[in-house]
Symmetry: C2
Subunit: 134 residues, 2 copies
């Protein structure tokens, strides 16, 4: 199988983001974190080797509220990288462009995340592999 390198040689697949109406309704035990920065409640589950990030709208202005209403389940792929700035620079050659500022997420180990988009591959989240210290 051909390998494609969009985000740098140390990038690794991290999770698939999936919209759900209620995390608690579909899993009684999973740990749920409210991510005010992104307007979502989130939880991670391992599904036969794939990490699924369950995402529930947090508030009416949540960016995923419309996906839930429309029944769109799979929202994005996420890759873990050593440095989001370097990964953003690398993926430009493959047609990705940055659609957010790199942002540390206090609710996620203060790691920096950034969103990129390509018309071919869609929405991708890049997350740094360690906490951010400015």
């Amino acid at each position: 199988m051909i390998a494609v390198d969009f985000f740098g040689k140390n990038a690794r697949f991290h999770h698939v983001g999936m919209a759900v109406g209620s995390i608690r309704a579909i899993d009684a035990d999973v740990e749920i974190v409210d991510n005010q920065t992104q307007g979502v409640r989130m939880a991670f589950v391992d599904c036969h080797g794939a990490t699924l990030e369950l995402l529930e709208p947090l508030g009416e202005r949540s960016p995923i509220a419309r996906s839930v209403k429309q029944g769109i389940k799979l929202l994005h792929l996420c890759f873990e990288v050593p440095d989001v700035d370097e990964a953003v620079a690398a993926c430009r050659a493959s047609g990705f462009h940055r659609i957010s500022q790199p942002t540390p997420v206090p609710e996620y180990e203060n790691r920096r995340i950034v969103w990129v988009f390509s018309k071919d591959y869609g929405l991708v989240e890049l997350v740094e592999d360690k906490p951010y210290s400015s």
Copy 2:
């Protein structure tokens, strides 16, 4: 991280299905297979450890033509299982139901595939880990 078991203990994450307008336009080298059974052209690429199944509509009645038009990229998750019938039976307890007959796919090593759906987790393809012999 909590693990969920929908499809049996030997199920393994296999790929993410992604709709594209033209496989060849986004990758000059990848091997493309026309899958008449499913109405798609398909190619697999490894993207930083995630297998992506690129899917291009084959004919105007392709089931993915509308996704391409709407810009919906991520279509389904696929898990590899030893036996699709057993996996279908197992996942009923988690709210999945079968939406196709198990079908050997000549263009994919004659392995049997089946589609299941859950309102919580969306569309999932199950593929057997070996060729089918009736």
